[in-house]
Protein backbone atom coordinates (compact mmCIF):
# COMPACT_ATOMS: atom_id res chain seq x y z
CA UNK A 1 0.00 0.00 0.00
CA UNK A 2 1.36 3.40 -0.93
CA UNK A 3 -1.01 6.12 0.37
CA UNK A 4 1.07 8.96 -1.11
CA UNK A 5 0.89 7.49 -4.59
CA UNK A 6 -2.85 6.81 -4.28
CA UNK A 7 -3.58 10.46 -3.51
CA UNK A 8 -1.44 11.63 -6.42
CA UNK A 9 -3.37 9.25 -8.65
CA UNK A 10 -6.67 10.56 -7.31
CA UNK A 11 -5.59 14.15 -7.94
CA UNK A 12 -4.48 13.25 -11.46
CA UNK A 13 -7.78 11.44 -12.11
CA UNK A 14 -9.76 14.52 -10.98
CA UNK A 15 -7.59 16.77 -13.19
CA UNK A 16 -7.81 14.53 -16.27
CA UNK A 17 -11.61 14.15 -16.02
CA UNK A 18 -11.79 17.58 -17.62
CA UNK A 19 -9.99 16.29 -20.73
CA UNK A 20 -12.36 13.40 -21.32
CA UNK A 21 -14.81 15.60 -23.21
CA UNK A 22 -12.74 15.47 -26.43
CA UNK A 23 -12.81 19.23 -27.11
CA UNK A 24 -9.03 19.56 -27.41
CA UNK A 25 -8.99 16.73 -29.95
CA UNK A 26 -11.89 18.32 -31.86
CA UNK A 27 -9.99 21.65 -31.89
CA UNK A 28 -6.89 20.06 -33.45
CA UNK A 29 -9.06 18.12 -35.88
CA UNK A 30 -10.82 21.29 -37.04
CA UNK A 31 -7.53 23.20 -37.28
CA UNK A 32 -5.95 20.54 -39.51
CA UNK A 33 -9.04 19.96 -41.68
CA UNK A 34 -9.63 23.68 -42.26
CA UNK A 35 -5.93 24.19 -42.98
CA UNK A 36 -6.04 21.43 -45.60
CA UNK A 37 -9.25 22.71 -47.22
CA UNK A 38 -7.79 26.24 -47.19
CA UNK A 39 -4.74 25.00 -49.13
CA UNK A 40 -6.75 22.86 -51.55
CA UNK A 41 -9.43 25.47 -52.34
CA UNK A 42 -7.34 28.63 -51.80
CA UNK A 43 -10.33 30.11 -49.99
CA UNK A 44 -9.31 32.48 -47.18
CA UNK A 45 -12.60 31.86 -45.34
CA UNK A 46 -11.16 28.57 -44.07
CA UNK A 47 -8.25 30.41 -42.45
CA UNK A 48 -10.78 32.30 -40.31
CA UNK A 49 -12.48 29.01 -39.50
CA UNK A 50 -9.12 27.72 -38.17
CA UNK A 51 -9.07 30.62 -35.71
CA UNK A 52 -12.78 30.05 -34.96
CA UNK A 53 -11.87 26.51 -33.89
CA UNK A 54 -10.32 27.99 -30.73
CA UNK A 55 -13.87 28.76 -29.58
CA UNK A 56 -14.75 25.03 -29.53
CA UNK A 57 -12.99 24.14 -26.24
CA UNK A 58 -13.89 27.48 -24.63
CA UNK A 59 -17.64 27.23 -25.36
CA UNK A 60 -17.67 23.44 -24.99
CA UNK A 61 -16.22 23.57 -21.47
CA UNK A 62 -18.67 26.29 -20.43
CA UNK A 63 -21.89 24.87 -21.86
CA UNK A 64 -21.27 21.10 -22.00
CA UNK A 65 -18.48 19.99 -19.64
CA UNK A 66 -19.03 22.04 -16.47
CA UNK A 67 -22.85 21.55 -16.29
CA UNK A 68 -22.25 17.78 -16.44
CA UNK A 69 -19.11 17.45 -14.37
CA UNK A 70 -19.43 20.22 -11.81
CA UNK A 71 -16.93 22.80 -10.63
CA UNK A 72 -13.66 22.26 -8.84
CA UNK A 73 -10.88 24.45 -7.54
CA UNK A 74 -7.61 22.57 -7.64
CA UNK A 75 -4.87 22.91 -5.04
CA UNK A 76 -2.39 25.80 -5.46
CA UNK A 77 0.23 23.48 -7.04
CA UNK A 78 -2.15 22.52 -9.80
CA UNK A 79 -3.43 26.08 -10.10
CA UNK A 80 0.15 27.14 -10.81
CA UNK A 81 0.18 24.44 -13.45
CA UNK A 82 -3.02 25.96 -14.85
CA UNK A 83 -1.38 29.39 -15.01
CA UNK A 84 1.49 27.86 -16.96
CA UNK A 85 -1.11 26.27 -19.23
CA UNK A 86 -2.69 29.67 -19.89
CA UNK A 87 0.76 31.09 -20.66
CA UNK A 88 1.56 28.30 -23.14
CA UNK A 89 -1.94 28.62 -24.63
CA UNK A 90 -1.40 32.36 -25.20
CA UNK A 91 1.97 31.64 -26.84
CA UNK A 92 0.31 28.99 -29.03
CA UNK A 93 -2.41 31.45 -30.08
CA UNK A 94 0.23 34.10 -30.87
CA UNK A 95 2.13 31.59 -33.02
CA UNK A 96 -1.12 30.61 -34.79
CA UNK A 97 -1.86 34.28 -35.51
CA UNK A 98 1.72 34.76 -36.76
CA UNK A 99 1.28 31.78 -39.10
CA UNK A 100 -1.99 33.26 -40.27
CA UNK A 101 -0.39 36.65 -40.97
CA UNK A 102 2.55 34.98 -42.73
CA UNK A 103 0.15 32.87 -44.80
CA UNK A 104 -1.81 35.88 -46.03
CA UNK A 105 1.25 38.12 -46.47
CA UNK A 106 2.44 36.43 -49.70
CA UNK A 107 5.96 37.64 -48.88
CA UNK A 108 8.48 35.02 -50.05
CA UNK A 109 10.12 33.16 -48.37
CA UNK A 110 7.92 33.80 -45.31
CA UNK A 111 4.64 32.74 -46.86
CA UNK A 112 3.74 29.08 -47.19
CA UNK A 113 5.38 26.40 -45.12
CA UNK A 114 8.88 26.79 -43.69
CA UNK A 115 8.95 23.06 -42.90
CA UNK A 116 11.79 22.24 -40.46
CA UNK A 117 11.36 25.39 -38.38
CA UNK A 118 7.59 25.09 -38.14
CA UNK A 119 7.73 21.36 -37.48
CA UNK A 120 10.14 21.88 -34.59
CA UNK A 121 8.07 24.75 -33.22
CA UNK A 122 4.85 22.72 -33.31
CA UNK A 123 6.42 19.76 -31.49
CA UNK A 124 7.99 22.12 -28.95
CA UNK A 125 4.85 24.14 -28.16
CA UNK A 126 2.49 21.17 -28.06
CA UNK A 127 5.04 19.07 -26.18
CA UNK A 128 5.33 21.81 -23.55
CA UNK A 129 1.56 22.11 -23.35
CA UNK A 130 1.23 18.31 -22.99
CA UNK A 131 3.84 18.31 -20.22
CA UNK A 132 2.36 21.19 -18.25
CA UNK A 133 -1.20 19.94 -18.32
CA UNK A 134 -0.22 16.27 -18.19
CA UNK A 135 -2.31 15.41 -21.25
CA UNK A 136 0.02 13.54 -23.61
CA UNK A 137 -2.25 13.16 -26.69
CA UNK A 138 -1.35 16.81 -27.37
CA UNK A 139 2.21 15.74 -28.13
CA UNK A 140 0.79 13.26 -30.64
CA UNK A 141 -1.02 16.14 -32.37
CA UNK A 142 2.22 18.12 -32.33
CA UNK A 143 3.99 15.21 -34.04
CA UNK A 144 1.12 14.85 -36.53
CA UNK A 145 1.29 18.55 -37.42
CA UNK A 146 5.08 18.41 -37.67
CA UNK A 147 4.83 15.44 -40.06
CA UNK A 148 2.36 17.42 -42.16
CA UNK A 149 4.80 20.36 -42.29
CA UNK A 150 7.67 18.11 -43.42
CA UNK A 151 5.59 16.39 -46.13
CA UNK A 152 4.17 19.75 -47.21
CA UNK A 153 7.68 21.18 -47.48
CA UNK A 154 8.97 18.24 -49.54
CA UNK A 155 6.00 17.35 -51.75
CA UNK A 156 3.92 20.56 -51.65
CA UNK A 157 0.26 20.67 -52.71
CA UNK A 158 -1.81 18.44 -52.85
CA UNK A 159 0.23 15.78 -50.91
CA UNK A 160 0.71 18.01 -47.84
CA UNK A 161 -2.95 19.06 -47.50
CA UNK A 162 -4.18 15.51 -48.20
CA UNK A 163 -2.03 14.16 -45.31
CA UNK A 164 -3.29 17.04 -43.17
CA UNK A 165 -6.87 16.12 -44.08
CA UNK A 166 -6.30 12.49 -43.08
CA UNK A 167 -4.66 13.42 -39.75
CA UNK A 168 -7.29 16.09 -39.08
CA UNK A 169 -10.13 13.66 -39.73
CA UNK A 170 -8.47 11.14 -37.38
CA UNK A 171 -8.21 13.76 -34.61
CA UNK A 172 -11.80 14.90 -35.20
CA UNK A 173 -13.03 11.30 -35.10
CA UNK A 174 -11.16 10.68 -31.82
CA UNK A 175 -12.57 13.93 -30.37
CA UNK A 176 -16.17 13.20 -31.38
CA UNK A 177 -15.93 9.61 -30.06
CA UNK A 178 -14.59 10.94 -26.76
CA UNK A 179 -17.35 13.56 -26.60
CA UNK A 180 -20.10 10.97 -27.22
CA UNK A 181 -18.62 8.74 -24.51
CA UNK A 182 -18.43 11.74 -22.17
CA UNK A 183 -22.06 12.72 -22.82
CA UNK A 184 -23.20 9.16 -22.14
CA UNK A 185 -21.09 8.81 -19.01
CA UNK A 186 -22.09 12.19 -17.60
CA UNK A 187 -25.71 13.04 -18.44
CA UNK A 188 -27.12 16.39 -17.30
CA UNK A 189 -27.92 16.20 -13.58
CA UNK A 190 -31.33 16.84 -12.07
CA UNK A 191 -31.16 20.59 -11.43
CA UNK A 192 -33.99 20.51 -8.88
CA UNK A 193 -32.26 17.77 -6.89
CA UNK A 194 -28.93 19.60 -6.98
CA UNK A 195 -30.60 22.79 -5.74
CA UNK A 196 -31.63 20.82 -2.64
CA UNK A 197 -28.10 19.56 -1.92
CA UNK A 198 -27.15 20.03 1.77
Amino acid sequence: MNPELDLKELEKKAWLTYFQDGFWDILFGIMMIMGAIRALTDNILFTFLILGGVLVPILGKKYITIPRLGRVRFNPDLRFQKKKLVFVFIVAIMITISFFLIAISNVEPLSGHASPFMALLLVLVLGMLAYFIDYWPLLLYGLMMATIEVFWGIYGVPTGPVIELVFGSTALFIGITMMIRFLRKYPLPNEEELANAP
Binding site: M1, L7, L10, V72, P198
Partner: protein, 107 residues
Protein backbone atom coordinates in the same frame (compact mmCIF):
# COMPACT_ATOMS: atom_id res chain seq x y z
CA UNK B 1 1.72 -4.13 30.70
CA UNK B 2 -2.06 -4.58 31.09
CA UNK B 3 -3.72 -5.80 27.83
CA UNK B 4 -6.20 -2.84 27.80
CA UNK B 5 -3.36 -0.30 27.81
CA UNK B 6 -1.51 -2.20 25.10
CA UNK B 7 -4.67 -2.23 22.94
CA UNK B 8 -5.17 1.51 23.40
CA UNK B 9 -1.68 2.22 22.12
CA UNK B 10 -2.15 0.07 19.04
CA UNK B 11 -2.62 2.22 15.89
CA UNK B 12 -5.60 0.13 14.84
CA UNK B 13 -7.46 1.47 17.85
CA UNK B 14 -6.63 5.00 16.77
CA UNK B 15 -8.36 4.64 13.40
CA UNK B 16 -11.03 7.30 12.95
CA UNK B 17 -14.20 5.28 12.37
CA UNK B 18 -16.02 8.24 10.87
CA UNK B 19 -13.44 8.41 8.05
CA UNK B 20 -12.94 4.65 7.81
CA UNK B 21 -16.38 4.02 6.25
CA UNK B 22 -15.67 3.51 2.47
CA UNK B 23 -18.04 6.18 1.14
CA UNK B 24 -16.84 8.79 3.60
CA UNK B 25 -13.22 7.81 2.97
CA UNK B 26 -13.79 8.41 -0.73
CA UNK B 27 -15.38 11.82 0.00
CA UNK B 28 -12.53 12.83 2.30
CA UNK B 29 -9.83 11.66 -0.14
CA UNK B 30 -11.44 13.43 -3.09
CA UNK B 31 -11.79 16.66 -1.12
CA UNK B 32 -8.26 16.33 0.22
CA UNK B 33 -6.69 16.49 -3.24
CA UNK B 34 -8.55 19.67 -4.24
CA UNK B 35 -9.06 23.02 -2.59
CA UNK B 36 -12.84 22.92 -3.00
CA UNK B 37 -15.38 21.22 -5.23
CA UNK B 38 -19.10 21.41 -5.79
CA UNK B 39 -21.66 18.75 -4.95
CA UNK B 40 -21.94 17.54 -8.56
CA UNK B 41 -18.16 17.14 -9.00
CA UNK B 42 -17.96 15.08 -5.82
CA UNK B 43 -20.94 12.98 -6.91
CA UNK B 44 -19.17 12.23 -10.22
CA UNK B 45 -15.81 11.46 -8.65
CA UNK B 46 -17.09 9.23 -5.84
CA UNK B 47 -19.87 7.56 -7.84
CA UNK B 48 -22.25 8.03 -4.90
CA UNK B 49 -25.95 8.77 -5.39
CA UNK B 50 -27.44 12.12 -4.40
CA UNK B 51 -29.02 10.70 -1.24
CA UNK B 52 -25.94 8.80 -0.15
CA UNK B 53 -23.61 11.73 -0.67
CA UNK B 54 -25.99 14.10 1.16
CA UNK B 55 -26.25 11.78 4.12
CA UNK B 56 -22.49 11.19 4.45
CA UNK B 57 -21.73 14.88 3.98
CA UNK B 58 -24.11 15.75 6.81
CA UNK B 59 -22.18 13.42 9.12
CA UNK B 60 -18.84 14.90 8.04
CA UNK B 61 -20.20 18.42 8.46
CA UNK B 62 -21.47 17.57 11.95
CA UNK B 63 -17.95 16.37 12.85
CA UNK B 64 -16.65 19.70 11.43
CA UNK B 65 -14.53 17.85 8.86
CA UNK B 66 -16.29 19.44 5.90
CA UNK B 67 -17.38 23.01 5.34
CA UNK B 68 -20.51 23.32 3.18
CA UNK B 69 -21.03 26.67 1.53
CA UNK B 70 -24.28 27.56 -0.21
CA UNK B 71 -23.95 30.19 -2.92
CA UNK B 72 -25.60 31.29 -6.14
CA UNK B 73 -24.13 30.85 -9.62
CA UNK B 74 -26.31 33.11 -11.73
CA UNK B 75 -29.78 32.43 -10.38
CA UNK B 76 -29.10 28.80 -9.47
CA UNK B 77 -28.27 27.68 -5.92
CA UNK B 78 -24.90 25.97 -5.76
CA UNK B 79 -23.20 23.94 -3.01
CA UNK B 80 -19.43 24.18 -2.61
CA UNK B 81 -17.58 21.75 -0.35
CA UNK B 82 -14.22 22.06 1.34
CA UNK B 83 -12.27 20.15 3.97
CA UNK B 84 -11.79 22.17 7.16
CA UNK B 85 -8.42 22.36 8.90
CA UNK B 86 -9.77 19.80 11.39
CA UNK B 87 -10.85 17.58 8.48
CA UNK B 88 -7.45 17.79 6.76
CA UNK B 89 -5.62 16.99 9.99
CA UNK B 90 -7.99 14.10 10.73
CA UNK B 91 -7.45 12.68 7.26
CA UNK B 92 -3.65 12.96 7.59
CA UNK B 93 -3.83 11.24 10.97
CA UNK B 94 -6.04 8.51 9.49
CA UNK B 95 -3.52 7.88 6.70
CA UNK B 96 -0.66 7.78 9.16
CA UNK B 97 -2.46 5.29 11.38
CA UNK B 98 -3.49 3.08 8.48
CA UNK B 99 0.05 3.03 7.13
CA UNK B 100 1.32 2.04 10.55
CA UNK B 101 -1.30 -0.70 10.87
CA UNK B 102 -0.20 -2.22 7.56
CA UNK B 103 3.47 -1.86 8.40
CA UNK B 104 2.99 -3.66 11.69
CA UNK B 105 1.21 -6.61 10.10
CA UNK B 106 3.32 -9.77 10.06
CA UNK B 107 4.56 -11.01 6.67
Amino acid sequence: MPPEKKAKESPIMEIDKLIHEPARLSIMANLYVVESADFLFLMRQTGLTFGNLSSHLSKLEKAEYVYIKKEFVGKKPHTMLQLTKKGRDAFMEYRKNMKQVFEELPE
